[in-house]
């Protein structure tokens, strides 16, 4: 028997309180044609073997990124994750211990998170990093709220190169607080003038590099202008591997650096769970959201690890906490740390070089296809091309030929009039044959 805590009377009282006649009315904003009118017709019972076969048959209808050459990026990247990572994260000391933050029993977890923070701070070129956020987009939303707390201003300016999903999350979170968000028009070639967007009410400028179209951006002049205006510069990245090669956002003068850490140690996972990286300058540490692990000494003078600055958090400050987040992406952060440790500094640089070399080779091959133009001048492992036709249709045709060609710009920006543009990424897992095959088959379908 199912336990249903709400009686009909409870439901009627709740609906009356919010002024809605029926539960169905709560879904009125969904177009009638899209609503399910009757129950899904499911067979009453099947054996486990039958269910497994049926689900395997359905799953085989997908073309997965691991089974064919994939050039899909735009925020989530297919990289090689060494088997060692999967083995180590599944050790019971890590896997079975969910949020064990009491230092008496959790030195291992706390030490891993401390090392994670150290790695993120080093990669981003910042003083301090937290123990991770849910993902890059929610981290960006939190960075904007943090900038408002520091500057005591309430207006954020979002670059036209910021991933549209990230901009959407910023708008949702800022909207709840009644804060102003200015989103600049799509900026495919990094030509926008963000300095012109500064005025005395601007709390922060949010700019992504490499941006969603692949452009590498020099933030130093913008950082100086932000500083002079009393505004903060929030630098965002979606491809963490780029930090192995390009100048760190911290070195370019960013005040908060936030990004997606999926690329290192984590698979595509259908879009999540991922791991948000979040770093800032020492002077802003008390306004930083999230957990923070610190190194200390115990009563007998031995090195140990604890949660630090917890007085900013919800369990102590309640509704006045710096942020709603009072956890982190523990398992994904662990995978990130293990992979980073395996790579080391030299390994990460080599990995980044490989990604860049593959992308340059791909750009040259695609440019050789008649009618195709590479629009991105300075890029890391991702760039945008203009095709002689609608990108979404060309992507469909290539998918039927066993190539996942990339993300049509229209998927992210349906009304920007950029239907012929395609964002393509090449990582270390795209072989020379993959890249050559892409160019050949693209020529065929055009």
């Amino acid at each position: 028997m199912r336990y249903l805590p709400h009686s009909d009377a409870d439901r009627a009282a709740m609906l009356a309180h919010i002024g809605v006649a029926s539960v169905d009315d709560l879904f009125a904003s969904i177009p009638a044609a899209k609503r399910l009118k009757k129950l899904v017709d499911l067979p009453l019972a099947r054996s486990e073997i039958e269910v497994e076969r049926e689900l395997a048959r359905l799953a085989a209808e997908n073309t997965s990124a691991g089974s064919v050459p994939s050039f899909v990026g735009a925020g989530a990247y297919r990289h090689h994750v060494p088997a060692t990572v999967d083995h180590l994260i599944q050790r019971s000391e890590f896997l079975t211990s969910y949020t064990p933050y009491q230092p008496e029993i959790a030195q291992g977890t706390l030490q891993v998170l401390f090392e994670f923070q150290t790695q993120v701070a080093a990669l981003t070129g910042m003083d301090v990093a937290n123990a991770s956020m849910y993902d890059g987009s929610t981290g960006t939303g939190e960075a904007v709220l943090m900038a408002h707390r520091i500057t005591r201003r309430r207006k954020a300016v979002l670059s036209g190169g910021l991933h549209r999903h990230y901009a959407d999350v910023v708008r949702t979170l800022s909207g709840m607080a009644g804060d102003e968000v200015v989103t600049l028009p799509a900026d495919m070639t990094a030509g926008e003038n963000l300095i012109k967007a500064l005025d005395p009410t601007v709390s922060c400028i949010v700019v992504q590099t490499p941006d969603v179209f692949g452009n590498l951006r020099d933030l130093s002049k913008l950082a100086e202008a932000c500083k002079a205006n009393g505004s903060l510069l929030i630098a965002v990245f979606t491809e963490a591997v780029s930090l192995g090669l390009v100048e760190s956002p911290g070195a370019m003068g960013a005040d908060i650096v936030v990004g997606e850490g999926q690329s290192i140690g984590n698979g595509l996972n259908f879009g999540g769970p991922y791991v948000g990286l979040f770093a800032t300058r020492q002077q802003y540490i008390r306004q930083m959201p999230g957990r923070l692990c610190g190194e200390t000494v115990d009563a007998s003078g031995q090195r140990g690890f604890v949660l630090t600055l917890s007085t900013r958090e919800q369990h102590i400050r309640r509704e006045k906490a710096t942020s709603n987040i009072c956890t982190n992406s523990g398992l994904c952060a662990l995978a990130f740390t293990i992979h980073m440790t395996l790579l080391g500094e030299a390994g990460l640089t080599r990995l980044a070089e490989l990604n860049h070399a593959h992308a340059v080779d791909l750009a040259e091959r695609l440019e050789g296809v008649p009618g195709v133009e590479v629009l991105t001048r300075a890029f890391f492992n991702e760039f945008t091309v203009r095709l002689p036709g609608r990108a979404d249709r060309i992507v469909e045709k290539l998918a039927r030929r066993g190539i996942l060609a990339g993300v049509p710009v229209s998927r992210l920006l349906p009304r920007a009039g950029l239907d012929d543009c395609l964002i393509v990424a090449a990582t270390e897992v795209t072989t020379e044959a993959d890249r050559a095959g892409f160019a050949t088959k693209l020529k065929e379908v055009l």
């Binding site: 005591r152 008390r286 007085t311 900013r312 102590i316 400050r317 006045k320």
Partner: protein, 125 residues
Amino acid sequence: MSIVRYSKDHEYIRVDGDIATVGITNYAQEQLGDVVFVDLPAIGKTVAAGAETAVVESVKAASEIYAPVAGTIVEVNSALAATPDMVNADPMGKGWFLKLKIANKAEVDKLMSEAEYTDYLASIS
């Protein structure tokens, strides 16, 4: 000659003319333990009596500081950023938080004198 008055939130104000210096009492700093951070307001901000104006954070808690009287913030003790332990060492002196330009001096009389505050402490202990 300045006068000192106390609130039930264990804050004091030292009144010199129309300027009130606000801080926490010795009892408050003892209860909080080692102070590690004080979040101070922006200069020029106008606050109502009883409004939250600052946050004092110790190793075990974070507590709000309320304005004992209404007024405008004219100065904050920026030395506390580097030496928050001054709140423990010298709460009534170098450990002050902020200075207010008092909006209505009649509000000062609603607060407790030192003798009244001593009685109040005895009544709650």
